[in-house]
């Protein structure tokens, strides 16, 4: 295992649903401890990319290496145990289990933690994510913000080296989103690499140092956030080609 190379490297990823090509020849790397944001208009293939990286979908083409090892053939659970965790766009708490138990099962299955050590780690993660006070509440009784926090905390409890976040800020108010950003910032400071899809770009750029923009299944821009947002191809992807625009009045 190399310490200097990227933690995750995907090359030539291709994925189609029937006749619809969703990913086409996508190359994507994440450095150790790096935070990358993914933006792009509707239907660009962002969530599919996340699903391919996490192992939910098998790509038809391409290869994914994680910490230098080929993980392309592994399923979601196996990749999680290696250190790739994800959150879901619509939170999926274990409704019949308490918040504490939600994390405990993640620590046990994802990180192999057991006994008193596991319990202690879970409590720390709950504290980090501001959920300690809700530790004994069943998942199904939580509100949206707490479900999002739980989604984050549970992924974190698997002790990932890479965290994939799918629109975790969607549907939250500005104040709520700010609280989440602080938590994600703290996660980043622990050296955990982050790949984050988010439509609310002003939230995203508070954490990530690099932005990747996708359109129609391809990567069209990759770099420093402000530069990517000024990129003509990116603006075209969002708003359509400038050649169609009327003269500014």
């Amino acid at each position: 295992m190399t310490q200097t190379g990227p933690i995750l490297a995907a090359t030539g990823l291709g994925k189609r649903f029937g006749a619809l090509v969703v990913l086409e020849d996508v190359d994507f790397t994440v450095g150790i401890g790096e935070a990358v944001g993914i933006v792009g208009p509707n239907g660009a293939g962002k969530t599919t990319l996340l699903n391919v990286l996490s192992g939910r979908y098998a790509p038809e083409a391409g290869r994914i290496t994680f910490r230098g090892a080929d993980v392309t053939a592994l399923d979601v659970a196996a990749r999680c145990r290696l250190g790739i965790a994800r959150s879901h766009q619509i939170p999926r708490p274990f409704g019949g289990m308490t918040v504490f138990e939600n994390l405990l099962v993640a620590a046990a299955a994802g990180a192999g933690a057991r006994g008193r050590m596991a319990e202690q780690r879970v409590l720390e993660t709950l504290a980090l994510c501001g959920l300690l006070g809700l530790a004994n509440r069943r998942g199904e009784t939580l509100g949206l913000l707490d479900r999002k926090r739980l989604e984050l905390a549970r992924a974190l409890a698997t002790e990932p080296a890479l965290l994939l976040l799918d629109e975790i800020g969607a549907g939250l108010t500005d104040g709520e989103a700010r609280g989440l950003v602080e938590i994600i910032g703290a996660i980043r400071e622990r050296g955990i690499a982050i790949v984050w899809i988010e439509h609310i770009v002003h939230v995203l750029v508070q954490v990530v140092g690099r932005l990747v923009c996708m359109d129609a299944g391809r990567v069209i821009a990759d770099g420093e956030p402000a530069a990517v947002l000024r990129n003509a191809a990116v603006i075209d992807a969002y708003l359509g080609s400038a050649t169609h625009a009327p003269a500014h009045g």
């Binding site: 999680c80 993640a106 299955a109 980090l128 300690l132 006070g133 709520e176």
Partner: protein
């Protein structure tokens, strides 16, 4: 993270300790059953213990594994059949019952390998086909003589009273053992994984739970448990007529007990088995109307009260009678005010 180190995680509460002690005391008391009860009551209680096993095992499968099988009579019947076969081969009766459960558990491995890959409805009826096929193949055995059946002749060596008492103890011990096994399983790592799969198997996979492997364990355990129940039933009934053991009625009983008691809880199916036992004792003589009532109750609970009696009670009162869950002991300041359930805490 200051302060986290001081927090305790509690599993046993005084109430749970009292309840578990009481449950153990009841089991201990039941051990004296044959000395205390009449022959008829002793026999009925043996049946109750077998019902509890059936309900608890079907619940492990459907309530935790999400696997609705209408073919568990396959394992019930095979358990009885293998016990007859082993006994005929010279193995003494009561060890043969236990061995039969293990043999059928082994048979369930390859069956599960195929069936677990089917989707919900296909799994349900597919298991029924497996049960029918098992029934037909058992009928081919010359020992069984088709539907004529055979009996556990070796039991004739015992006197009626001794046989009754031994079977009672065997059923009680089997029930206590399986309850303890499921209890320990749910308390351990496998238990939290099972509950996670029950609640959302996609999310469970995404945190590293091996979903298919866990379901395999559940399938084999449920099969071995149903087989043990079948073997015990054979010990109470002595005769083995295949159609009586491979009847889908058994699965109907399992579904009734589990649904009424509470799918996906530890206590629910035990309660369901006791309720079923009472209903059967009171109305079993009324024959078919009683079966109509069972079917209607299963239908009604499935549609209108899917949590079952215990599930509804537990959701409302959180009695925490068993040390299965985890409770974090929080300092007073950290416990948020209730009353904002299910909505944003904006």
């Amino acid at each position: 993270m200051s302060g986290v180190g001081d927090l305790g995680v509690e599993r046993w509460t005084p109430r749970a300790a009292v309840f578990v002690a009481a449950a153990l005391a009841v089991l201990g008391g039941l051990a004296f059953g044959p000395a205390l009860f009449s022959a008829a009551i002793t026999e009925r209680l043996s049946a109750l213990f077998i019902y509890v096993i059936l309900a608890v095992m079907w619940n492990v499968l459907a309530g935790y594994g999400g696997l609705v099988s209408v073919g568990q009579q396959a394992f019930f019947g095979l358990g009885a059949y293998v016990a007859v076969r082993l006994s005929a081969a010279g193995i003494s009766v009561y060890p043969a019952l236990l061995l039969a459960a293990l043999v059928v558990g082994g048979l369930a491995l390859p069956i599960g390998e195929v069936m677990l890959r089917l989707s919900g409805g296909e799994f349900a009826i597919g298991m029924w086909v497996v049960a029918e096929l098992a029934h037909l193949l058992v009928n081919l055995d010359p020992l069984v003589q088709g539907e004529t059946g055979t009996s556990l002749i070796a039991l004739d060596a015992f006197g009626a009273a001794a046989r009754r008492a031994d079977t009672y103890w065997a059923a009680l011990a089997a029930m206590a053992f399986l309850l303890a096994l499921v209890f320990l399983m749910l308390r351990g790592r496998l238990g939290t994984a099972l509950q996670a799969i029950r609640d959302d198997d996609v999310a469970a996979a995404s945190i590293g739970v091996r979903v298919l492997a866990t379901k395999r364990v559940v399938f084999v355990l449920a099969a071995a448990g149903a087989a043990l129940a079948g073997a015990l039933w054979l010990a109470t009934a002595i005769t083995f007529q295949p159609h009586a053991y491979f009847s889908v009625q058994w699965t109907a009983y399992m579904i009734f007990m589990t649904l009424v008691g509470g799918l996906g809880t530890f206590e629910g199916p035990v309660l369901g088995a006791v309720l079923f036992f009472i209903v059967e004792t009171a109305f079993g003589a009324s024959g078919v109307w009683y079966l109509v009532g069972l079917g209607a109750a299963a239908l009604g609970f499935a549609l209108f009260a899917p949590r079952g009696v215990w599930g509804a009670f537990a959701a409302r009162f959180s009695p925490r009678l068993l040390p299965l869950g985890y409770h974090v002991v929080l300092p007073a300041g950290l416990v948020p005010a209730l009353g904002k359930k299910g909505e944003e805490q904006a």
